[in-house]
């Protein structure tokens, strides 16, 4: 159990049976008045946000959240299937739960699946993934302006801007947090 004085940015709570994370927090108190804990909370399933002011007498249940390493297997309808390589347990995430990670989701990739009371609610990918460029305009000779970029498509269908020297069939490293190109990868 948490009390209001435990609240801080990043703390995860269970409110009305849903997991929330505190995204902004401030302690306010009129000199003679009561301590107020002004918080902005984000629902970790739906992403919706709201603001609430708590008092020192309020208390909270911690959200039972944990992360588990799982391997991406396949897409079935609009569900994404992941498997725990030790227990062979399989879980399904919806498109909304996968979110932007869909751009970097390749078969057999290992990801951290976020579980709330053992139900999967989200995913976090490794910070860097290597993907194959499947469509790219050929490199025009003389196109040597430094910093020039062009759009290419990678194997997941994601379009990304890369330096003009990148060609079709090459592997490139992408930062999954920003969605940006980092470097070419050999092999």
């Amino acid at each position: 159990m948490y009390t209001a004085s435990d609240l801080k940015k990043g703390l995860r709570l269970k409110i009305d049976n849903e997991p929330y994370i505190i995204t902004e927090f401030n302690f306010v108190k009129p000199g003679k008045g009561q301590a107020l804990y002004r918080s902005k909370l984000k629902n970790m399933v739906t992403g919706s946000q709201f603001e609430r002011t708590f008092r020192s007498v309020d208390n909270f249940e911690p959200a039972d959240l944990r992360e588990k390493k799982m391997q991406y297997l396949y897409k079935e309808g609009d569900k994404y299937c992941f498997m725990d390589n030790e227990s062979f347990e399989q879980v399904y995430l919806t498109e909304a739960q996968v979110g932007d990670a869909v751009n970097f989701l390749i078969d057999n990739i290992e990801a951290e699946i976020l579980l709330f009371e053992d139900k999967p609610i989200g995913i976090s990918l490794p910070n860097f993934v290597d993907l194959v460029v499947t469509e790219a305009e050929p490199w025009a000779k003389g196109d040597t302006v430094s910093g020039a970029t062009k759009p290419v498509k990678v194997q997941t269908g994601y379009t990304i801007f890369v330096p003009t020297f990148v060609t079709e069939g090459e592997k490139i490293r992408i930062d999954t947090r920003t969605g940006e190109y980092l470097t070419r990868v050999k092999g």
């Binding site: 004085s5 401030n26 302690f27 306010v28 108190k29 009129p30 000199g31 003679k32 008045g33 009561q34 301590a35 107020l36 002004r38 002011t53 020192s56 007498v57």
Partner: protein
Amino acid sequence: MNLRAKLISSIRHFFIQQNFLEVETPLRIPAPAPEEHIEAIPSGDWFLQTSPELCMKRLLAAGYPRIFQISKCFRAAERGSRHLPEFAMLEWYVTKFDYYQLMDQCEEMLITAFKYMGHPQDIIRQNKKINLAAPWEKITVADAFSKYAQVSLPEALHQDKFDEILTQYIEPRLGINRPTFIYDYPVKLASLSKIKKSDPTVAERFELYIGGTELANGFSELTDAREQRQRFEEAQEARAAKNWARYPMPENFLDSLKNMPESAGIALGIDRLVMILANTDKIDDVVAFTPETL
């Protein structure tokens, strides 16, 4: 740090010029004033003072008519962008004054102290100018609610939302163009102040705001020992209801109230005042060390 030192010496200069006596009272005391929302930090069997109020009033009762003190106060579990559990407080008391006179003196003190330190006539806060020229704005608490909140004062009290509405809708709009005093607090929030004779629903209490920040709290002081004891007992009950410690009754203070002349007194947060002059929103920026850096 420079600004802080200059401000403190300017304040001291003002009070000495005005024939005030600078006093020192113990930081470690056996019985802090029981207040519903202020929690003292224990120190052995005693407590660190949450304010020097009780000891300073005993000095008024002992015959010192104009006294001031700059001291450290300690309040448990108060930490935020404007709160430190240990902070510097200026308190001063004047006999034969009421809260109106004290508001005027507070205004004069700050204007004069700023002048001593060579500070310009305006304060810049979030790119806006706050004009310090007298007279400063004075508005009752009830009027501040009708002007800035969607809920009237009686309605806010009825819903038990006074502090929430005050901090969210009213405070950020106080003292924006010039410093603002809000005064005449509902009796329930009288604390150690006197009830107003002409309107017993309010207490002779005020607060000063500059740039949306609460800076000072002042009263016409309650000198009726019986009423004061009763308010302390109510505060003890309210504290007990939320499992807060019951403090020993400050009997020596209550005894001395019999001899205390009519007075007004005020407490002003030094750190907050430096924050305003330094144009910062973080109290951490105006102290040498915070609890986290020790």
